[in-house]
Amino acid sequence: MPIIQAENLSKVFRIPHKDPGVAGAFKAVLRPRFEDKVAVNGISFSVEPGEIVGYIGVNGAGKSTTIKMLTGILMPTRGNVQVLGRDPHRQRVANARDIGVVFGQRSQLWWDLAFIESLNLVAKIYEVPPARYKQLLDQFAETLELGELLRVPIRNMSLGQKMRAELAATLIHAPRIVYLDEPTIGLDLIVKERIREFIKQQNRAAGTTVILTTHDLGDIEELCPRVIIIDAGALIYDGPISTIKARFGKYREITFETLGDASACAVPPGAEIVGAEPRKLTLRFDRTLTTASQVAQAVMNAIEVKDFSLAEPDLASVIKQIYGGALREPVTP
């Protein structure tokens, strides 16, 4: 039984149309015209309890709008969404008890209050039983190393400390689903690591379902066995990250530093040029058509090579290809 079920979910915004200039502004007041902007276009997916799903796409692809519909803030224009068997918008308050939300850089904590006071207030709002509260607080204090932060007001915290505090406040009522909107943005590697560890641990120990939007590929590789990719409001991929890697990972890049002019070299079969400077040549080849040694040999036969390196395709380049349009046609995993 899925914990989240979205069917043909769409959101269309009516935005006022304005021509440029003063005349345009007057016209917009006298005769308002509206344009429809489709932010989310017929998305369907379902999430099982205990999953961690990466929800990714470029800025403006419709990620936030989808999250707002799942959390009950926005009402879908078309389609249907069920979270824990409820309509999150119509039954917003009931839904709110079972979910936790981290909105990127917007804190849910009171700026001037000591962190522990903010936490106490959040716990009151969610009616967390005192014994449970104490137990979770102790647990979070340990895993997120909050001990020395509890007396500190949010305004005096660093970005990383703030995010740790934010996560604790979001999970203090033990929600069954958490929506994390870019939880590691702007953080250093050590804090990122700790936060990922915490999310994993919550998922494992409490079975918390996690929906994560991020631009950080490290987050995806370490946390999300499954990703949903949206582009221009439409779903273009839903499946395991490994399929994506295999599909786009058949390419390798090989870079040569040459003594002579690199442009003199003919491109070996099965490869293509991705970068050419006077003394540097980068080729991409399809592993199913040729091999690294064949490509290297062909180049070395043509010109004198000082050094060369072979790059493993990382997820970053894969995602870049996808955003670049390589997945416009939906694929089945």
Binding site: F13, R14, T65, K68, T71, G72, I73, L74, M75, H89, R92, V93, A94, A96, R97, I99, V101, F103, R106, Q108, W110, D112, L113, E117, N120, L121, K124, I125, Y126, E127
Partner: protein
């Protein structure tokens, strides 16, 4: 209901903890309103010094009207000041979305989020004016009069809050509601004086459309034994009706918001 009262109490406690941390800010805020009020009072004092009788109303009688509306306004100021700032501090910043993913009523959350201590200064000035004028006018503090005053002030406060709630709802269409709120709110200044000094149109406006007069002129008239008929008793009824209407308007705005986002 009980849950919300307890919650409000916790919000208030936290708010005072913040205020205690910024003691200077607290003192300046609370006293700045007193200074502003004194400026307003000086005007009355100067004017009444020239014309001792304002359309049949003496200095202390005008002070009673002024004091009553100041008390009503201070209730709005203390408990509903966030209706002014909803645009830039909540809707535009996205903080309002936070209220919508919490298991409590978003309007309650908005109002409870910030008790405004600046209103305390207004309350003290209003209380002092009412005390002074009733003493000078020989109005006895019988239990009946005290109860009547309390109901009048609370109803007046509710009228202020309801009208501000209606105008604040415009935030869901125009993302900054302060200009709209300002225009409506400022008409209360007419009701700082006896309504009889104004043209009939203004009297009707402040009695039936934007009923700020029910927070000051009518209850003051009743206490002074001036005949105003049923209007002396109408404040709580109108206040309640206005609150219901305002809440409906707010819910309508909220539905619009969930359709469009900010």
């Amino acid at each position: 209901m009980r849950r919300y009262l307890t919650l409000y109490w916790y919000f208030l406690l936290q708010r005072f903890k913040i205020l205690l941390e910024y003691r200077a800010n607290f003192m300046i805020g609370a006293s700045s309103t007193i200074i502003l009020q004194i400026a307003g009072l000086l005007t009355i004092w100067v004017v009444m010094g020239q014309i001792p009788d304002l359309n049949g109303w003496g200095f202390d009688e005008v002070l009673l009207v002024y004091g009553l509306i100041t008390l009503a306004k201070s209730i709005n100021h203390m408990f509903a000041d966030n209706l002014w700032t909803i645009g830039w501090s909540y809707v535009r910043s996205g903080q309002f979305d936070r209220f919508l993913v919490r298991p409590i009523d978003p309007l309650f959350h908005l109002l409870a989020d910030r008790f405004c201590h600046d209103g305390i200064g207004n309350f003290l000035v209003g209380a002092a004016l009412v005390a002074k004028s009733t003493a000078s006018l020989g109005i006895a503090w019988t239990p009946f009069n005290a109860l009547y005053l309390a109901v009048a002030v609370l109803s007046g406060g509710a009228i202020f809050i309801a009208l501000n709630l209606i105008t604040a709802t415009s935030v869901f269409w125009i993302t900054e509601s302060i200009p709209v709120t300002q225009v409506i709110f400022n008409t209360h200044e007419f009701a700082q004086y006896p309504l009889t000094i104004y043209h009939r149109g203004i009297q009707i406006l402040l009695t039936w459309v934007l009923p700020y007069g029910l927070a000051s002129f009518y209850p003051a008239s009743f206490l002074l034994g001036r005949e105003v008929g049923a209007l002396a008793w109408l404040s709580p009824v109108v206040a309640l009706a206005l609150l219901v209407i305002a809440f409906r308007v707010w819910l309508f705005g909220l539905r619009h918001y969930s359709g469009t986002g900010s």
